[in-house]
């Protein structure tokens, strides 16, 4: 029910279009890359999914993270603009329920983005490569893993957006976090667990896959606790 409510609220904000445009831009990356470097990639001896994601995922993930940051900022901007959050607080709905609704909507949108991107990978694989028996399984595994890696980024970005009344503040923090993620080294291991760096991880070629999945779950739990704490602290200062 909260998702429907949140979906209704984002009407005419460009939220849906933002995710769609981000997804299309990211989906275009492997196609364009294949058009211009066909021979280079078709000569590699590996599975199509690994070749395509290995060559394009960093840029695609960059689009995904930027879309997540902007989208979550927008979700709380509509609450703070015109003080509609005050009206919401005087209705029988808790702030954590609102957060959950927004998180669910962002997750669904992220899932749609990944589906569009998977569509592009399928197109490239069928058009330029020969897809073997394990193609579909490998594709699903990779995108499910990417989905799991994106969840901490959504949760943390949403938390930052809720904490900052000024949208530019939360957007700025988000952008700084994205660029921090880009310059963070892979070693030591804990640095690669930065939530904004996790969506850049691919299943293929990643060590500690299971550890990253545990880390994702841990980040979601920590962010949920932080959300409850934020509500409590803010209420005590009101």
């Amino acid at each position: 029910m909260n998702i429907c409510l949140e979906y209704k609220k984002v009407k005419r904000t460009g939220f849906i279009q933002l995710f769609l445009c981000g997804a299309i831009l990211a989906a275009v990356v492997p196609v364009v890359n294949m058009v211009f470097r066909t021979e280079m990639y078709t000569s590699i001896h590996n599975t199509p999914v690994q070749i395509l994601l290995g060559a394009n995922w960093q840029l695609m993930a960059m689009f995904n993270v930027l879309v997540i940051v902007t989208g979550t900022c927008l979700l709380y901007h509509i609450e703070y603009d015109n003080n509609s959050i005050q009206k919401l607080k005087s209705l029988p709905i808790t702030e954590s329920q609102v957060f959950l609704g927004k998180a669910a909507l962002s997750v669904i949108m992220y899932m749609s983005v990944l589906v569009i991107e998977a569509g592009a990978v399928i197109f490239c694989s069928c058009h330029w490569f020969v897809t073997g028996d394990g193609f579909w399984k490998e594709l699903c595994q990779n995108f499910i893993y990417s989905f799991i890696m994106g969840l901490p980024c959504i949760a943390l970005s949403l938390l930052v957006s809720e904490a900052c009344k000024n949208m530019w503040m939360s957007f700025g923090i988000g952008v700084v976090c994205v660029f921090t993620a880009l310059i963070l080294p892979e070693k030591p291991f804990f640095l690669s667990l930065f939530p904004f760096a996790m969506p850049f991880k691919m299943l293929a070629g990643t060590k500690h896959v299971i550890n990253y999945i545990y880390a994702s779950a841990a980040w979601i739990a920590v962010t949920s606790l932080a959300e409850l704490l934020l509500i409590k602290i803010r209420r005590s200062f009101e």
């Binding site: 609220k9 005419r12 015109n82 209705l91 029988p92 709905i93």
Partner: protein
């Protein structure tokens, strides 16, 4: 029977006391006028009733439900309009009310009823950000009235309205207890306005409750204390002036 009761309700902000141990008794099915100059603590008290502001000490009950334990239950039966209208600018008036309707679990017909009550029917499809100040005020009122809640908390509901709008909203507020059995707590800094709507009043100044009772009781009380009882506005100003002098305020 009182639907809202407070017990030594206090709100302090880092050394400044906005509400100082007030004991309100708001009878069920009446319009209760909450009167006081700017900064008297009216909005803070109303915000405490809605859980928007946490009381420093004291307690209150609304319809027998105690805060903070029953906060959600209290909000289920309280319609509110605090300070300025709050709305989603990207949505139309109708869509704004639909959101509230969904949260309260009301039938869709309550949206058109609320729009009609506040005279917004023909502007229902227009984006809220394109509303005039008066229309935004009406939308705020519609969002408070939607579903005809048993308790209505309205903070200066006629701000920004033209004289005809003020009259219309006053009449509407006055008719609510009889029509729908609502209890209305309405604030204003104008006694002349409250006089036209409320049967019972509470006068607040610098966080202290100076008087609580009916308008007739106010007249009697004022004349007993030597205030001008024939003109309510003057009486009110004299009471506030006297209280400010007692507390050593600079006016």
């Amino acid at each position: 029977m009182n639907i809202i009761e407070t017990k030594n309700l206090v709100k302090t902000y880092s050394g400044f006391t906005a509400v100082s141990g007030i004991n309100l008794h708001i009878p069920k099915g009446e319009v209760y006028g909450f009167l006081g100059p700017n900064g008297a603590g009216k909005s803070t008290t109303m915000k405490m009733f809605l859980g928007l502001v946490k009381p420093t000490s004291g307690s209150f009950t609304i319809d027998g439900k105690k805060y903070p334990g029953n906060r959600i239950e209290i909000l289920k039966e309280t319609g509110s309009f605090i300070e300025a209208p709050a709305f989603y600018g990207n949505l139309s008036g109708e869509e704004n009310l639909e959101i509230i309707c969904k949260i309260l679990g009301l039938p869709k017909s309550s949206v058109s009823e609320a729009l009609e009550l506040t005279g917004l029917t023909q502007f229902g499809k227009r984006l809220a950000k394109k509303y005039s100040l008066g229309m935004k005020q009406r939308l705020g009122l519609a969002s408070a009235l939607i579903g005809k809640p048993p308790v209505l908390i309205l903070d200066e509901p006629t701000n920004g309205l033209d004289p005809a709008g003020i009259h219309e909203i006053r009449m509407l507020i006055r008719s609510l207890p009889e029509k729908y059995g609502c209890t209305v707590l309405v604030s204003s800094h104008l006694l002349s306005e409250i006089e036209l709507m409320a049967g019972n009043i509470g006068i607040l100044n610098r966080g202290h409750l100076l008087f609580e009772g009916t308008l007739e009781e106010l007249r009697q009380d004022a004349s007993a204390k030597g205030y001008p009882a024939d003109n309510l506005e003057e009486m009110f100003l004299a009471m506030i002036d006297e209280d400010n002098r007692k507390r050593g305020a600079v006016i």
